[in-house]
Each structure stands twice: as C-alpha cells, then as structure tokens.
Subunit: 292 residues, 2 copies
Amino acid sequence: MVAIGGNSLPGFVRPSLHQHSLSAPAFGSARFPAVISFGSRVILRAEVENKDSRAVIVNGLGKRECDCETEFDATLGNGHAVNSGPNLGVLSTVGNSTNIKWHDCSVGKLERQSLLKQKGCVVWITGLSGSGKSSVACALSQSLHRMGKLAYILDGDNVRHGLNRDLGFKAEDRAENIRRIGEVAKLFADAGVICIASLISPYRRDRDACRAILPDGYFIEVFMDISLEVCEARDSKGLYKLARAGKIKGFTGIDDPYELPLNCEIVLNGGSPCEMAEKVMSYLEENGFLQA
Amino acid sequence: MVAIGGNSLPGFVRPSLHQHSLSAPAFGSARFPAVISFGSRVILRAEVENKDSRAVIVNGLGKRECDCETEFDATLGNGHAVNSGPNLGVLSTVGNSTNIKWHDCSVGKLERQSLLKQKGCVVWITGLSGSGKSSVACALSQSLHRMGKLAYILDGDNVRHGLNRDLGFKAEDRAENIRRIGEVAKLFADAGVICIASLISPYRRDRDACRAILPDGYFIEVFMDISLEVCEARDSKGLYKLARAGKIKGFTGIDDPYELPLNCEIVLNGGSPCEMAEKVMSYLEENGFLQA
C-alpha cells in the first residue's frame, strides 16, 4: 500500500518513475507533489477508494492527453484541493457525475502566481445587509489595483444576475448560492486571483463549507462587526423597512438569524471603507499573499 | 423618455450631471458609458421596464456605497453584459432573485485589462469526446503563459468535481452544466483573464446561450473537427467502448447527437496540439486580445 497525497492505493505497485517538479505542488495539501512519467504507452489502471472525500475512483487510464514541452504523457495524482479529493487522473464519480476525469496542465497555480507576483486566495466578507461589505470590497479592490495586484469581486447580488439567477431566497437556495460562490471563488484563487467574495452568508455551516474546499490559510474570513441598529439606521437599500413591514420574509437580522463567526481571520468594526480595507491589506501583506 | 444604455426610463428627468469617464465603458455594449454624480444625498427612484432582458427594475436607490478616491456617491447605469440587463444600480428582480442590486466598483474590466496587458475573453473549445479539446486547451494555456498572459482553463470534467458536482448527465443537467460554465467563463473574462472553456457542449443552443451573455467578439468558438471514427479509435478514456456496449447511455456521437457549429470562429482539424494552439494564438493576436 502506497500513500500518495493522503490517499492509499491498495495493491498499487509503483512503476519506474521520473519525478518532475515543474508544476507541483500547486493547490492544496491533497495535491500530489510530483508528476510521474511512464513513457508514451504505459496505461495505469487503479482501483482506489478515496476515504476522505466524495470521490470514488472506479477504474481508468492514466494517459496524459497534453503536454508540448515535456516528455511524459502519463500523470498520476492530480487531486485539486482539500476536500475535492485527488482522483489520479482517471475516471471517477463525483456527486452525480459519472465517468469524469481530472485534466491537469503543466501551467498550474504556481506558474500563474509567479506571473502575477501574488498568491490567489479568497477574502470572504460576511455581515448584515448594510454593514458595508460592498464598500470594503471595493476599497480593497482599489488598494490592490494600485499595488498592481489582480483582484476580482464576487458580489452576492451580482452573481444572482448571472450564475445564480435560478436561485431564490429559500433556505436551500441560499445555501446553494453560497456553495456556488465558494466554488467559483476557489477557481479564481486557483487562477492566481485575489478573489473578494462579498455576501451576507449568515450561516456558519455555509461559510465553513466554503472554507473547507480551500487549502488551509487561503480562506480569509472578514466579519463586518456592525450592529443591527447601525445597519438598520443606514438601511441603504430600504430593505430593513420592507422586512419590518413584513414585505420581505426571512430577512437576516429581522426574522432570520445571523450567526457570528467564531474564528474569522479579521474583524472590522468601524472606520471608513478605506481604513477597513487597509486592515485587510495588512493581513494579506503579512501573510505573504502580495508576493508569489 | 430618455434612452440610457439601451434602456428607457419613462418619466425620467435627468438631474444636473457630472460625467466621469474613469472606469467605463467596460464590459459589453449594454454598459452605461459614464458614471453620473448627484451629490451625496440625492436618491434616484426609477420605474423601468427593461425590454431586452429578464431584469425588471421595480424601484430603488441610486446610492453608490463605495469609492475612496472620487467625489460622487451615486451611480446611474451599470449594466453588465449584453443579456444580463443593466439595472441602474437599483433593486431588481432577476430570475428567482428579488431585491438584488448591482454593485459596481471603480476598478473595472478596463483597469484589470490594463494591468494584465491583455483583454479578457472566452475561448470555447467544443468537440467530441477524444477530439483533443483538453490537449489544445493545455497547449494554448502554455503558449499564453510563455507570453506572460494570464489564462485559465475551465474544463467540463474538472468543474464537475466542484461547482457542478450536483449535476448528472440528464439533458437538463447537461444544459445547466454548460450554462454555469458559460457564466463562470464570463466572470473570468470580466476579470481580464483569457478563459479557455473545454467541454463537449454538443448542442448549438447551449453554446449560443453562452455566446449571448458575452459582448460581441469576446466568445471565440473553437471547433475540434475530428471525425467520430478517429475519436473512437483513440478512445482515450475508454468511454466509446462502454457506450457501444450500452453501459453509458446518451453518449455524444453514439446515441446522442453532436450539433456542428455553424458560425464558429476557428476550426481545428488536425496537427499536433501545439500546432492547433498556435492557430488560436494567431486569432487572439490578430483580434487584439493579447494587448490591453
């Protein structure tokens, strides 16, 4: 039994290997740390049960479909992030999807980070409606841009104009809204972008689920610690008034709870949007995200 | 009646304006070409029916929540892309989402493009299983990276490990899979990234729907024109064999159709992945995507 990237392959015998270090390790602790060459005709078949994820690999071909510059054409081990589970480049079943295969490429997260001179991550801004999430997101985006860093804002409302236009505000729709934004944010982080997600995300379990799909340290939870009274007094969208009048049901802070973060990375509780954004900038700087 | 960004505002009276040109026009023909200042206390209310999109604006506040550097705090007109419908920064209903608001930021697509020295777009690679989509996507990603350009691959199979893990291969799930990838690709293009989507996407209507949410010219359809016979002979995932044996139902090319593109931008019908990727590179170069 050979442990690879946190997984065990019963009965797996390691072939003669050439270890390449070109693109790995990339994204997440579960990523296999090297690319393995079998030569052009060797096919790998494996029966693997991935114990710590939802992926079960049933069988498959290790043939690598693509590479211009390097000799190998077979890849073993290319799991993506903590909870998605490595699937060894073979066919697998994930959720409702059968017979899918992870396609890897030698231009990986590290190469993109090197190009951008920054580390992709997710800055997740949570808080009540009117707490200033969008203002901080925008100010942060401006500060990063001034430094020549690439950021992108995923705004909860904006995403409902496109990707999540099929979702309403029922409990399951809210959860799915957050799940999808978390998954997209992960893709942006993998692309090397500092992704700023700005949405109420009132439930701890939903936020934690988004944290869990990212490598440790790459999900930076920012809590807008502004009281309901202040947010309601601002009422920048006029929504609290509608909620108090019973015209909006299930409104966070009024007739639906906001669950305070227990272990967020940053708490913002006042000051101008720029001042608050500067606190996030300091965190990013201190934790190495503003360099490759 | 005043026409703004393709929309008409019945009874709208234009206030005294300061036109700013800082971040617009940005993404798509429907984006309003300027930011308009009303001073810090003016609230805009509008009743608007947006005839060419699914968005209907019911009322709202034009208050801009965020800007560190400029004087204005009210924004009028910030529609996003062709078919998502501008909503003038006010509350709107889109699909199943009520009371949502478009949040804009003065760091827009143009600023990100300028930073990256490229134009964000979507290269949509379509074709049969085994036609070489992933190989071309990877080779293209490598070529772009060598030029210092930021690209990101959205692979149909990969996305099913995360964002689309809830989807199977029923007709409606396939359509939703493609819709979501199209929406995410649009976000990446808006972020300034050259987004390479690689998925069978067998139906014309699904591909065309993804094209329709992007500005004209920014959806570059690449057809892998490789015959079923060649793809089946390769059978790189072993799926054709399973499909022929009846173990996979609804398999494209076997018992489900592939609808040939009628007006794609690029047809690739042979050569090495690198040679095919070079054709796409030439297209990107000639059409100005490799500079801001």
